[in-house]
Symmetry: C2
């Protein structure tokens, strides 16, 4: 019988996170204080984050130790399995081998708890009693709710309105873990109230929800803010995914030719890819594919420049691929991929051509998701389905070229909380929205006046 799942033991969970800043050829320009337009200092960030996370944000150390209580929390679900998609390969009649790292085994069904437990732990040891955050599809909000609960911390989640309405089960999960949740824009913050006045029918956006969560945290002594993607320390915490995957590929004597992940802010992609990107920097021949929706094409069509992380311009300016902080993407179902920007580390690596980006339309993506589900028995989250579609496309290409290759993708999460999207798809109710260049130029125009580099 062919081996399907490659497991590691709990003792094989990596003891350190891998920090790509130590190896990348060019560092991204530093984030700027929006007031002074100078690089932000640890003091600028301390009202929002605990010091260990701020230090990780600027660290140049290649490896950073994972604290024991974080490791212990991770053993609830890690190491996650690496799975060979034998049945999908057969259905596609491809010479390619398809492996996926299955992050759906976590408490909330995605990669998000990998960083949630670390962030909750560092806030806990600094005595923080309450955290605020935003969430798109709900993956992040539920993960922080669970992780913070383990360390006795209260959580308030601002959930993007369109997802709040589409995903009542995520809301129930967040409440089951003991957290408070509100639809964003809400009436609980100044930002929220202003936006609701101006745009009562807005579907909301991650940019808006971040503004609300930051405003809440900045206004209260006992409260910190927590972000589920984009920042360096978040990407750092996800690198256990790629480190595990490396060990698992070694066990079966394989090496990956193509490595794929979907990108919203960039953390699940980075988590799988960065430990392998190091190999590419050191000479290995690997093709990295970052996949985004055509309705929110930040890496493929955005500008690479300074922009705010949020709509209300409360965050530092980050140097990243962006569609403009005012961008409100159409209400596609891949809620986690609707962010206007990308992680600065990922943006830099795309700029430096170590990583390629592609944008797909959602009807193609759902078609591949259904194919995958029927053969492999796991229904992917709409976000993850973008990576699935890329893997399927690569496998078909291998068949057409008669070329063997090994494809590895990050199965960032299952779709059991996203079934209304599948109902819509099956009933023909989904449409594709591909952002036009005009729409994107219009959105980027609003960035005029923001600095282009940190010298002005």
């Amino acid at each position: 019988m062919k081996q399907t799942k490659i497991f590691l033991n709990e003792k094989d969970i990596p003891r350190q996170w891998y920090n790509i800043a130590a190896d990348m050829p060019n560092q991204p320009p530093p984030p700027l204080n929006p007031g002074t337009l100078q690089p932000i200092t640890p003091d600028d960030l301390s009202p929002l984050f605990p010091m260990p996370l701020i230090l990780q944000e600027v660290s140049q150390d290649r490896y950073i130790d994972i604290p024991e209580p974080v490791l212990e929390a991770l053993t609830l679900w890690r190491p996650s399995p690496l799975i060979r998609a034998h049945r999908l390969e057969k259905a596609l009649n491809t010479p390619a081998k398809i492996y996926f790292k299955y992050e759906g085994v976590s408490p909330t069904g995605s990669h998000k708890p990998n960083t949630a437990v670390a962030q909750a732990y560092y806030n806990h040891i600094e005595g923080v009693k309450r955290l605020t955050t935003e969430t798109g599809a709900g993956q992040w909000g539920s993960s922080l709710a669970f992780a913070a609960g383990m360390f006795g911390i209260d959580v308030k989640v601002y959930m993007v309105r369109v997802s709040f309405d589409q995903k009542p089960y995520r809301k129930a999960m967040i409440q089951s873990f003991g957290a408070e949740i509100v639809s964003s824009p809400s009436m609980d913050t100044q930002t929220g109230r202003k936006i609701r006045e101006k745009m009562p029918d807005t579907p909301g956006s991650l940019g808006i929800a971040i503004s609300e969560a930051v405003e809440d945290a900045a206004g209260r002594e006992d409260t910190n803010y927590s972000l589920g993607s984009v920042l360096n320390h978040v990407l750092l915490h996800q690198t256990i995914i790629g480190q595990e995957a490396k060990k698992q590929l070694e066990i079966v004597g394989e090496s990956a030719d193509v490595i794929i992940g979907c990108v919203g802010g960039g953390s699940n992609f980075a988590g799988l890819a960065f430990p392998f990107v190091r190999d590419k920097i050191n000479g290995a021949d690997i093709d990295f594919l970052a996949i985004e929706p055509a309705s929110c094409p930040t890496l493929t069509k955005g500008a690479h420049r300074y922009d705010f992380g949020d709509t209300a311009q409360l965050t530092p300016l980050s140097y990243m691929h962006t569609l403009g902080h005012g961008f409100v993407p159409p209400a596609i179902h891949a809620g986690g991929l609707r962010y206007h920007g990308d992680a600065p580390l990922l943006s830099q690596l795309v700029k430096d051509e170590l990583i390629r980006a592609e944008a797909y339309s959602q009807l193609d993506v759902f078609q591949s998701a259904i194919l995958f589900a029927k053969h492999e028995g796991i229904i992917p989250a709409p976000e993850t389905s973008h990576a699935v579609h890329a893997a399927v496309t690569q496998a078909i290409q291998a068949r057409e070229e008669g070329k063997e290759k090994t494809i590895l993708f990050n199965f960032s999460g299952h779709g059991y909380f996203d079934m209304s999207a599948y109902t819509n798809y099956l009933e023909g109710g989904l449409i594709d929205h591909v952002m036009t260049d005009e729409e994107i130029q219009e959105s980027l125009k609003k960035l005029e006046g923001l600095p282009l580099s940190f010298n002005g």
Copy 2:
């Protein structure tokens, strides 16, 4: 670091099913043909089932080989992990060790695919092109939809109306796997139309849905019927759970003092328990606890006698604990536990006092489910939550008695498709309904005239 998860390799999946009929002290009386009141023959069953399953139904062999294609399908998710609930133990401050066998890793999130792949395979090799079935909470319907799809068989699922309305995500899952689904009672069968005429507002029941699925299958040459619990061959297929758990306990040098499962028809309970019941028959000291809802208390309050498996009296008469085939349980959320009867094998073992039964009210059950979720990171299905509550109760008792013991329960499925039940619970919208003796006597009265033994 303490070990949390005990994994087996794919080569450790059991190669044979264990058949408790070979070891139990008393056999249950045989099922009767409702026309002749004589024991049913293979010919009576052949319009509905393929011959290998009929032979398994009456087999006295202790072990039955698992066909290679079934094993190969099982490797998509098996062996399932055995997990030590360290954090729950700590929260309960108990000297007891709590282990659970996590069947939520399967394609549909429960134990059901274990038998679905076997049933689909045997129908496939007999050339069957279409299967009908009923489903309560949707676990079984989605499992058969997935498994039959793997073998190229079409499926029509009759889903109990109350669950059909409460669980739109299950419906979407069944459709994603390519099956047809209809709310039961439906307009597609004579049985369904009759019941809708008489009781337009009925929440439906498994008994009604079985009648519809059997009527559909009996009326079409190309169609067989498939059942997700109760029958001997279904319990047989589930015994890989207990066989794996035994190996896993051996790895950590433990033996179980208490073994727990929830009971609807009895298959998940039997799957974990029967390989250990053999040990008890051979002298081991193990306490077996079968847990049911107080709103459908078949084992604790039902009669042990002959009854129909379905409402419309189309099935053979089975000797089992029953509340009467006309029983329509209140619309509690544990849809999979709403069946009026129990597996004859399980019923006989309860009668013979090898297994104890207890009935719980759902508010207690949800309270333990939330406690479990917060500490262990998995939200249990409402059905499974009955087993969780039993484990929690046993662990608290161990603390009060100052007694170490090892508790093993079957975590039959996760609750990610049942979150509306959690919303109801958290918002105070759930009520308890404990069936009274009068209600039960009333329902059992309708069985007057049915035979009490197969000699009349």
